[in-house]
């Protein structure tokens, strides 16, 4: 069988050729029939430092972030690059380790001399790396979903323009949950920062819809059996809001099923719990009929836009959201689109600022801050978005999907306005 690691349209792209950088760029220029990087005074590549979770706890996500990044870079280069220059991706592994993350950012700035740093997923790595990006004045575009950027606690060099933050996601689903599933909500969540985000942002959001959180059940992160916590769920619960994560998730769902039997409340969860896990895995049967938040839908939908179809084909995921070359390799579809969209935001900002090299980094920051909205299309296949330059954070639509027949079908798409909240920061007041 001669499967390719990537299946990017008909042209084909192996991850190695995508990473070739200079060699690939030069090759493209020399090859007849390819787009020439004719506008540029210099054909030297734009160097993007990709801070990747290649090892450590984030490796499963890092793999798909890398695939998505390579697919987008290939298209960008095929279409002439950025400002007429090819894009080169330089990968450094941060080991999903905050301290190493900071070292990697410094390495990009001083050793590889990349133009920007991009692609970080895990929040603690972002938080650990951001100060170094600020010190070295290198733009740092993260794809992390955390509220850390919009909270104002990072610095002017850090942006999250390709994926919405968890506060916005949690806030935006509350109106639909209250209107369709019920108003009496019990929240069950892991007892640490991730769980607290949901606890702190969902409770006021559901209250604003006339609902109430009747119980909050934090689960210690080291638990791997949950039966003793389930009796704490009040009997009058209409909606069970669950955001369990880690290896215990399947056990949690199975034990929940055993606890309730057929007489269960409505279930609402975040697909983060089961990202990259086959929804038809044994133990997950109880989820049938329940609802999940998804950033971008894992399964192909009947009304997918042409842009969404092209994006899925380019990244190489099939209708079930798994690799087109390996059906068991389920993607991190709900989040990885953020890499794609972020790269196109970087492209736009570099073009707007006439970016030429590291000396223009401050101009690039200002040009990114000046962006206000992104139109749905090939560059933003997940949907249109609004960008808040003061917060350095993008806002977009969220999907609510129902588990039906072993698939996740989108039943509601929130408006951008559903996910807006009172801003707490203005990075533009910080000096560059």
């Amino acid at each position: 069988m001669t499967k390719r690691f990537f299946d990017i349209g008909k042209t084909g792209l192996s991850r190695r050729t995508a990473l070739k950088g200079i060699a690939a760029g030069a090759g493209l220029m020399a090859a007849p029939g390819f787009v020439r990087y004719s506008q540029a005074q210099s054909s030297a590549p734009i160097k993007i430092g990709f801070q990747a979770h290649r090892t450590g706890i984030g490796a499963a996500y890092g793999r798909w972030y890398e695939k998505t990044t390579n697919a987008a870079v290939k298209l960008i280069n095929d279409a002439g690059g950025i400002n007429g220059r090819p894009v080169e991706i330089i990968v450094e592994d941060d080991g999903t380790d905050p301290k190493r993350g900071a070292e990697v950012v410094a390495k990009f700035a001083s050793q590889h001399k990349t133009d920007i740093v991009f692609g970080t997923l895990f929040s603690h790595v972002v938080v650990g790396s951001a100060p170094t990006a600020g010190e070295l004045k290198i733009p740092y575009y993260v794809v992390s979903e955390g509220y850390h950027v919009a909270s104002g606690k990072l610095n002017r060099w850090v942006f999250q323009p390709g994926i919405t933050d968890v506060r916005s996601q949690v806030t935006s689903v509350a109106p639909w949950v209250a209107a369709n599933l019920g108003k009496k909500v019990t929240m069950i969540y892991p007892d640490y920062a991730f769980g607290y985000d949901h606890r702190d942002y969902f409770a006021p959001a559901i209250k604003a819809q006339g609902g109430e959180v009747v119980a909050q059940i934090p689960i210690p992160p080291t638990e791997s059996s949950f039966t003793k916590y389930l009796p704490q769920i009040p009997a009058d619960t209409e909606v069970l809001y669950h955001v369990m994560v880690g290896p215990g998730v399947l056990t949690f769902v199975k034990e929940l099923g055993e606890f309730y039997g057929s007489n269960k409340p409505q279930l609402f969860g975040f697909i983060d719990s089961l990202e990259a896990v086959d929804i038809n895995s044994p133990g997950l049967e109880f989820l049938d009929g329940s609802h999940f938040w998804e950033g971008s839908p894992r399964y192909a939908q009947a009304n997918d836009s042409e842009a969404q179809k092209a994006y899925r084909a380019a990244v190489g995921i099939d209708d079930n959201g798994a690799s087109t070359t390996d059906a068991k390799d389920v993607s991190t579809a709900a989040h990885m689109f953020g890499c794609w969209e972020t790269l196109y935001v970087i492209k736009k900002a570099m073009e707007d600022s006439g970016y030429k090299g590291p000396e223009d980094r401050a101009k690039l920051v200002e040009a990114t801050e000046a962006l206000t909205k992104f139109k749905e299309g090939p560059e933003h296949p997940q949907g249109d978005k609004k960008f808040n330059g003061k917060l350095h954070q993008v806002f977009g639509h969220q999907n609510i999907s129902k588990v039906e027949g072993g698939k996740l079908n989108v039943v509601h798409r929130t408006s951008i306005e559903d996910g807006l909240y009172e801003p707490e920061a203005d990075y533009t007041t910080q000096p560059l």
Binding site: R16, G56, I57, E92, P98, H124, S224, S281, T325
Partner: protein
């Protein structure tokens, strides 16, 4: 100027990183603690497997206790001649050295991505996992594949000396295996605890330095001597290779090969000195700790949230202590079991002889742990290695036609794979321990002439092996981070 800024920035941000990691009051954290394949294993009836495995190991002890030892030993010694092959040690080692040098170069100038650069994939996956398993199955391949023998012979020849015995320095007898032991601990620390053992340049420096250090030591003390007692890979390979089913004997310029039963070559071993016994135990301890360090139990004990693992940098201190603690515990339990066995039969055999001989019985356990713990890495990273080796310097080459081979990570994903891998792991752990009981029995018959006292002396060690079977399967079935 930039360098100064960078250093300052790193220094300043180090404190910020620590503060940032602890200040969770405002920090928001996407989940991303992957449900992972261990999630599927948690749903399997692993408790039944563990109970069954413990019973199987106990049953093997009972069966051996009633079997007549002479017949078993003579059966175990059966060999099936295979013929002979040319002894190509010198050219093979020179080729190996050339490949090693190319890999070190790739570590410096190839891709920075540890899954695209062939150096980390070759060292950690093909060599440490793949070759160790091949050694255990086949025999001491490393004696031929090592990258020192060829260059050593060439340099010695250039210096005008031929015999290995006339090395300029002699290793005193008391040195024993201590150099190998210390160097292995350094290796294990680098593999399991260093923040970035996969970083290609960092690994190139470490591996290159180790090669040079070993080469100088071989020139000083003689190749055979340093390979046996100092170069830990050679020392470990020679021990593990004794479990393999191919036996090679030099016959002039050729190698005479024979097939034997697994572990049969352990029948002729001499008792290891304390340093050798500790060295062998440390190899099992390192793999055991590798598994243990990821468990919710270990992380919970240390107040680490396994769903938001802080990364290797934050775990250096606790894991250093843990690695040593597992080793000390294993050594203490092992020694206690041997002492108890000796007391049970009122043996007059010196303890060092008994312990030094019986420690060989952990070879099959070490192999089983190696297989079980690194099977997934071998299946997935082995594919990455094949891709990377075709284009070692990221220049667009396709040396072996595998540069564009699809890497199918799905081979280790999903409930079906989890079931299959768990069963393979469980089978390996049980087989390893049953074989360990067998080896220990056969060695015990050398220590105790009466079959009854030989069996009785093995009772405490068998209890320990049952315990280690349970521990091994628990490591592979309990909740882990990542």
């Amino acid at each position: 100027m930039r360098g100064t800024n960078t250093t300052r920035a790193i220094r300043r941000s180090a404190a910020t990183v620590l503060a940032a990691c602890s200040a969770t009051a405002w920090q928001t954290s996407p989940a991303f603690a992957h449900a992972s394949e261990r999630g599927h294993v948690l749903l399997l009836p692993t408790g039944h497997y563990i109970a069954g495995a413990a019973l199987a190991v106990a049953a093997s002890f009972l069966v051996l206790a009633i079997l007549p030892p002479e017949r078993l030993v003579s059966f175990w010694r059966t060999r099936f001649p295979l013929g002979s092959i040319p002894n190509l040690r010198l050219p093979v080692s020179l080729l190996s050295f050339a490949a090693f040098a190319a890999l070190i170069l790739a570590g410096f100038i190839g891709s920075r991505d540890p899954l695209s650069n062939p150096l980390p994939l070759t060292i950690w996956t093909l060599l440490w996992v793949g070759l160790t398993l091949a050694q255990g199955l086949v025999g001491n391949l490393w004696a031929r594949l090592n990258p020192w023998y060829g260059p050593y012979r060439l340099v010695r020849r250039a210096l005008g000396s031929k015999a290995d015995g006339d090395s300029p320095l002699r290793l005193p007898a008391w040195v024993g295996y201590w150099p190998a032991f210390i160097l292995f601990l350094a290796f294990a620390w680098f593999e399991l605890i260093d923040p970035a053992p996969d970083d290609p340049a960092r690994l190139a420096i470490a591996a290159g330095t180790y090669w040079l250090f070993s080469f100088v030591a071989m020139l000083a003390f003689g190749f055979e001597r340093w390979s046996r007692q100092g170069e830990f890979l050679s020392a470990f390979s020679a021990m593990i290779g004794r479990f393999g089913i191919v036996d090679g004997k030099r016959d002039g310029a050729r190698l005479r090969l024979a097939v034997c039963w697994p572990g049969a070559k352990l029948n002729d071993v001499e008792p290891l000195p304390p340093s050798g016994a500790l060295f062998l135990l440390s190899t099992l301890a390192s793999v055991s700790f590798d598994g243990f360090a990821k468990t919710f139990v270990w992380l919970g004990l240390n107040g680490i949230n396994p769903l938001e693992l802080p990364g290797r940098s934050a775990l250096i201190a606790i894991n250093s202590v843990g690695l040593v603690a597992v080793f000390v515990a294993l050594a203490a339990f092992g020694l206690f079991a041997v002492v108890a066995g000796q007391r049970l039969v009122r043996s007059t055999v010196p303890l060092s002889n008994a312990a030094g001989l019986l420690v060989w019985s952990i070879v099959p356990i070490a192999l089983a742990y190696h297989f079980s713990h690194y099977l997934t890495a071998l299946l997935v990273n082995g594919q990455y290695a094949l891709v990377a080796l075709s284009d070692p310097f990221a220049l667009g080459w396709n040396l072996f036609g595998t540069a564009h081979m699809p890497v199918e990570a799905g081979i280790a994903m999903g409930s079906e794979s989890a079931w299959l891998i768990w069963n393979l792991q469980a089978a390996a752990i049980v087989a390893g321990h049953v074989l360990a009981v067998l080896v220990a029995h056969l060695l015990a018959w050398r220590l105790h002439p009466s079959p009854a006292s030989a069996s009785l002396s093995q009772l405490p060690l068998t209890v320990l092996m049952i315990g280690y079977t349970v521990f091994g399967l628990w490591l592979l079935s309990t909740a882990t981070a990542g």
